[in-house]
């Protein structure tokens, strides 16, 4: 009994961690800022590749992962300054431009680094509960997902940067009038989103095949989570990830991976039909 309960909790936690970690970067860039960035998966790939490279150079894995996130963040900021900034009011153009960036990045990695890269191996070994064995590293990922949500909540609601960032995104003119350098805030916020994407790549790099297209395997899940969640990360994406994780873990345990995916996508259809503003729009409906 305990073993079965634990196994379901573990699978739920695993799916939850993946959805949260994969979607946080997108939640900020797409959910909060409203920027459609089709090169999001490439930030993830960037984080993973930098992490693997640093780890192979002998850096401890946690530092390597942070290095991956930092690198993706810096590249994100450079992209924001050079390209994305000019397209904030031209969403269709930004789709084409970021799609182009995505193709250049994927193909560039393929040409420069080859079709695949040596992995780093999953650390921390395994443990077993009642006949099933589990990877310990995945427990760490679950903890990180929760800490990530907590950290972002504190950042956006309890720091000066967070207040200014939210103000800038909600009412840029008003924020400018009070003396905020809004374009700097946009750059930093976009950079934060890119860094979180890089972090996702770094955290999952030890568990996956490293190929130039690996970022795209995160995209469906992260878009689904953000769309269901709606605009607000904490009122939206976190419960969205929890609900989707239950559906995915349950359906996959019952009928396999295909049904896990079907469940995920059906949920999106049902939720956006019933709650056009996503979960956060529905939860916050009384506030306006």
């Amino acid at each position: 009994m305990f073993a079965t309960a634990f196994s379901f909790l573990y699978q739920f936690g695993d799916a939850f961690a993946f959805l949260v970690i994969a979607s946080m970067g997108l939640a900020i860039i797409f959910g909060m800022m409203g920027v459609i960035n089709l090169a999001h998966g490439e930030f993830i790939t960037c984080g993973a590749y930098v992490t693997a490279t640093l780890a192979q150079k002998g850096l401890p894995l946690p530092l390597a992962i942070l290095g991956g996130a930092a690198c993706a963040g810096i590249i994100g900021m450079i992209l924001e300054i050079t390209i994305i900034r000019r397209l904030y009011h031209r969403p269709l153009d930004s789709i084409v431009a970021t799609w182009g960036i995505s193709m250049i990045a994927t193909q560039g990695v393929l040409i420069v680094l080859g079709s695949t890269m040596q992995g780093v191996g999953t650390p921390l070994g395994s443990f077993s509960v009642g006949g099933y064995s589990y990877s310990t590293y995945r427990l760490v990922l679950m903890a990180i997902a929760v800490l990530l949500l907590l950290g972002l909540y504190l950042l956006f609601y309890h720091t000066r940067f967070g207040v200014i960032a939210r103000a800038t995104i909600q009412l840029p003119r008003m924020a400018r009038a009070t003396g905020v350098d809004t374009s700097r805030i946009y750059t930093l916020t976009f950079g934060l989103g890119a860094a979180l994407a890089g972090l996702a790549g770094g955290l999952y790099a030890p568990t996956m095949t490293l190929v130039p297209t690996m970022g795209s395997t995160f995209i469906v899940e992260s878009f689904v989570t953000v769309v269901i969640g709606g605009g607000d990360i904490f009122m939206g994406a976190a419960p969205a990830a929890a609900i989707l994780a239950v559906i995915r873990a349950g359906m996959t345990a019952w009928q396999g991976q295909l049904f896990g995916q079907i469940g995920l996508l059906l949920t999106v259809i049902v939720v956006i039909r019933l709650m056009p503003g996503g979960l956060s729009g529905w939860l916050l409906r009384g506030r306006k």
Partner: protein, 412 residues
């Protein structure tokens, strides 16, 4: 297309046919054009970029030795980007506007089934140089890759004898995985075993926690992994991290995507693969091939079974054209029908089977050790691609252009 343009194009075709036959003698002096449609980017690139290099190597060797019957070989290469619609576009382009004599095309079975109707439509000739789920009975296709009766009829009984009779299959959810899983099911049942589980994984899935648990819950003696593409290959790392510890059997791993080189040991420990070639094969022919290959392409990460198949296919085509004295497809098939189109290549002697236009193989059982080195516990010599012929496919008699499976055999 309106009726008028259709008439016009029919007329043009007719004229072209007359013109072609009139200039056939002249064309003999030009180069032999070979279309190469392989994935050089996208999900499958890791396994398939080497095929283009193998074909290039063979073409350069053939040209240096005087070409095919005195005519030089010219390659027309397109990157199909692991995308089935690109295969269709480029197959039309090589057959219609580039007018190649033969096409070497395809990695995934989905891509092959995407382009095959086009090859049939324009009566082209295509070599499919990949191991696959078997069953294609099509006179326009020549298959040099291994098929289930070569890979599974050897592997599965050996695994059942060695490890036990309870089998769990995880397979990529498309025609290759579904039909291969059907083969595994049939062979397991024929040998008195039990399928304790089967799961089909959509392409592109990279998270396997729940699948791993489903497998552990079913308690199989070994797992048959028929996973395809870079994303699905994440399974091995995740299964090793969860300490599943079950032996694995596969027809696709190691021999195609060299997972044993890419992943950190020991994630592929106790993986058994039947393959007709990998670079670890320790024969003089194989060593000579590797030496030539690395001299030409020093940065090649791994020389896999598809590289050998592509290379062999080039030489098979050469010998067919030289024997027939023409690139005409009917004449080439008449040569295959004689049953002695063979080549002594990197994997030993192989021959084309007239009935199915598939190739015989020496099948090597590759075992991945804890440090990811390879050993070969067993070699099956000269396994013929017998199933299609026995089931009733005979391309020397008629051309159904169908793909058959054990549950959907040819109607006799």
């Amino acid at each position: 297309m309106t009726f008028r343009t259709r008439m016009a194009s029919a007329l043009r075709l007719g004229c072209a046919a007359v013109a072609l036959s009139a200039t056939a003698a002249l064309a003999q002096d030009g180069p032999i054009r070979i279309g190469v449609l392989e994935d050089q980017s996208g999900d499958f690139a890791a396994a398939t970029m080497v095929k283009v290099n193998a074909i290039t190597l063979a073409a350069e060797e053939i040209n240096a030795a005087g070409g095919i019957g005195g005519r030089p070989v010219e390659l027309v290469v397109y990157d199909t980007q692991s995308d089935n619609t690109r295969y269709q576009e480029f197959m039309r382009r090589v057959l219609q506007s580039d007018k190649v004599d033969v096409v070497f095309a395809g990695f995934s079975s989905a891509s092959r089934e995407a382009y095959r109707p086009i090859v049939n439509q324009f009566d082209g000739l295509a070599f499919y140089n990949n191991q696959y789920e078997g069953g294609v009975c099509d006179a326009n296709m020549i298959v040099t890759g291994a098929v289930p009766e070569q890979q599974f009829s050897t592997l599965i009984p050996w695994m059942m004898e060695t490890y036990g009779k309870n089998v769990y299959t995880i397979a990529a959810d498309y025609n290759f995985g579904q039909i291969s899983a059907e083969w595994v099911r049939k062979i397991v049942e024929d040998n008195g075993g039990t399928m304790v589980g089967e799961e089909f994984i959509p392409l592109g899935v990279s998270q396997f926690s729940q699948t791993i648990q489903n497998i552990q819950g079913a308690k199989p003696d070994f797992v048959v992994t028929l996973l395809v593409g870079a994303a699905q290959a994440s399974y091995y790392e995740q299964a090793a991290a969860a300490n599943v510890g079950l032996p694995m059997a596969s027809s696709v791993n190691v021999g195609q995507g060299y997972e044993h080189k890419r992943f950190t040991p020991p994630s592929l420990k106790d993986m058994y693969v039947t393959t007709n070639y990998i670079e670890e094969v320790d024969t003089p022919e194989s060593k000579a091939f590797i030496e030539k290959f690395r001299a030409r392409f020093p940065d090649e990460p791994y020389i896999n079974q598809e590289a050998a198949n592509s290379y062999i296919a080039m030489y098979l085509y050469k010998s067919m054209v030289e024997r027939a004295g023409t690139t005409d497809h009917a004449a080439l098939r008449a040569e295959i029908a004689k049953g002695d189109v063979c080549f002594d290549g990197p994997s030993g002697k192989v021959c084309l089977d007239p009935k199915s236009q598939h190739m015989s193989h020496n099948i090597f059982l590759a075992k991945v050790n804890e440090d990811h080195s390879i050993e070969f516990p067993k070699v099956w010599e000269n396994i013929a691609p017998y199933w299609l012929g026995e089931a009733g496919c005979d391309l020397t008699q008629n051309d159904p252009s169908e793909q058959y499976t054990p549950s959907n055999p040819p109607t006799k």
